[in-house]
Amino acid sequence: MKKMLALLLASMVLLSACSSAATNKTGNESETNGDGKEKITIWAWDPKFNIAALNIAKDAYKAENPNLTVDIIENAQNDIVQKLNTGMSSGTTKGLPNIVLIEDYRAQSFLQAYPDSFFPVTDYIQTSEFADYKLGPTSFEGKNYGVPFDSGVTGLYVRTDYLEQAGYTPADMQDINWDQFIEIGKKVKEATGKDWLTMDPTDLGILRIMIQSAGSWYLKEDGRTANLQDNPVLKEAFETYKKIVDANIARTHSDWSQMVANFNNGSTAAVVSGNWFTPSIMAATDQAGKWAIVPLPKLTNNANSIHASSLGGSSWYVLNVPGKEAAAEFLGKTFGANADMYQKLVADVGAIGSFKPAAEGEGYKAPNEFFGGQHIVSDFAKWTAEIPKVNYGLHTYAIEDTILVVEMQNYLNGKNIDQVLSDAQKQADAQIK
């Protein structure tokens, strides 16, 4: 009996040792050492763009506060999303960074799902200095949680040499609609044999660009109710998408590297994308001087549609973990105030933020030789200011991936458009809560 008791006791001790070891470790990434040095951790994706921008900010901040160590960790975007969801829902802040980059489409989903996990930065930035359309996704219940960064402003990148063979110049494309865009594409394909576009059937980014250009979205203003049936903008975007496919001017790709390859090897003449695509175009140095960026086409039959939209922009968020003040301070002094730093950002990285005062600087006015001396940064900055503000809501990707991609295929195979959108609406209402 004594032996058994001893065994039981021993196992108790063992168990409690396990559990206490676990609780003791819930320390944090940010620690203040004796000599007043502080350390913050940042997660972001894309080494050529976001990480490069962070490194510039880190250098710029050294002058402000040499005591802060900034640790930048690169993660794929999907991994960041997953890690945040796991970490925040478990209720422990261990292992989470101080600052994280979140895509605007997903921002509300995080802010509303984990309201206590984020730290408001309202006191650290002047919200009026940022492009208006960025403030919706980054704020919740009247507080700003994100420091707006990548504008995601869209433009139409075109090969000028192919255009010329078809008898066009970039000047002809300054104010066109999607129908004219398709016509030009057909002519270019006739004249050069090159495809006009490249598309991924599972990625409806171009649809998002079209509807935002007319101030509409998959979700209504409340960010929760699907806005698919009886949405004239979405209907026209679907019809335009089908016209592009039917015109037989687009080749397909299934991943990012194939897409970039289609441009870099010269087999595709145009792309509608966010400004973050610039570095990928410029990677083909032999094509220098052959590209131009013209304004986004607008929807043909919609008076509200303008030549500006956004695709996949992102912003910085401070997590509610020890070290948050230092982290917010870091963001406020760099991405939130330092117009000079933004000049370096556009010159070195091509990253166009959404910080309005930066547009006055020299870097924004410089011509880009790769694009035939075009002032691409000031053009993008001009379009950024015009981007219509929409509420991306909670379910952008859930609606697109699970419903619209499937219904788009049905539509392309001949299903009636009104039926397509009403079926999509029904599915969305049933699935999205």
């Binding site: 009996m1 058994m4 039981l8 999303v81 997953q82 995080f110 699970t402 599915q427 699935q431």
Partner: protein, 290 residues
């Protein structure tokens, strides 16, 4: 305390640690998940909705699609794999076969590869310009590359080929060991009675392998119902939702879109219920009273 009680106590004390651990790491999470499955909401803002989530299952077209996909994989892939495994194991059990060890290792080897690693390799093999298409094109079996990953039907075929390649060898090992336990004198007697090889196979081998067939089909069924790594890495559930499985849907609900852990737990319990139903069904069909 009498001897019997004392012996009992000592016996229990040996398993007490295991019992505590199992309760802590199996039953406690299971019960928590069950409670979670009656809640809904985004992230940490969960509220009780009663059976709302379970009702939602039946009107959720994506869930029904994933259910259909999973069943399709199950109905087509498990029988193919089981038959193939039996066939190969009988071949490899042949006494006159040379290089037996080599063939056994070669066929078992896929089972030791990492799920993610082999999935990524299959993705490249079956790409539009991948090795498989290249091979078929060069041999003039086809004139245009097959869209293994972007056509809804072919994508399913690709997944089935992949999991069959990965798991056949694993099941074969069970059959091999079972075959070696069959007394050779039974076959000898059958041969003396003039039974053909085929007759021996259907009347001796198959009935004696029955418990193993039952075991492998149950484990394969459970494995297929939980299929995740392959679709996640090869097709990402696409094109559209045409290869998405239930497990992947759980992942998407929890980590990809606005998280709804309550509903994800409900889908998990739907899988549990299905596994129980299938296992019972297979026991009944096999006719064992054990």
């Amino acid at each position: 305390m009498n001897l019997r009680a004392r012996n009992n106590l000592i016996g229990w004390s040996f398993i007490v640690i295991a019992v505590i651990m199992i309760c802590l790491f199996y039953f406690y999470p299971m019960i928590q998940a069950l409670i979670l499955s009656f809640q809904s909401g985004t992230g940490t803002n969960l509220t009780f909705v009663g059976f709302g989530n379970y009702q939602r299952l039946f009107s959720d077209t994506t869930f029904l699609t994933t259910l259909g996909n999973t069943f399709l994989f199950l109905i087509i892939q498990v029988p193919i794999m089981i038959l193939l495994a039996i066939f190969i194991s009988v071949l490899l059990n042949d006494k006159n076969l040379k290089l037996k060890g080599f063939f056994r290792t070669a066929i078992f080897l896929p089972a030791v590869t990492s799920l993610v690693a082999y999935s990524v390799i299959f993705k490249y093999l079956f790409g539009p310009e991948g090795l498989v298409n290249l091979f078929l094109l060069k041999l003039n079996f086809i004139s245009d590359p097959i869209q293994w990953l972007s056509d809804p039907l072919w994508a399913k075929v690709t997944i089935i080929i992949a999991i069959t390649w990965r798991w056949t060898g694993y099941n074969m090992i069970f059959y091999l060991s079972a075959l070696q336990n069959i007394d050779n004198s039974i076959y000898e007697a059958a041969r003396i009675d003039g039974a053909s090889s085929f007759r021996q196979f259907t009347n001796i081998t198959i009935p004696l392998l029955k418990p193993i067939i039952l075991f492998t089909s149950i484990t394969s069924t459970i494995g297929t119902l939980q299929l995740f790594d392959e679709v996640m890495n090869i097709t990402k559930g696409g094109p559209g939702n045409s290869t998405m499985t239930m497990s992947q849907y759980i992942y998407n609900l929890s980590f990809r879109y606005t998280p709804d852990f309550g509903y994800a737990a409900t889908v998990s319990y739907a899988i549990v219920i299905l596994i129980v139903i299938f296992s019972v069904l297979q026991f009944k069909l096999a006719g064992d009273k054990k």
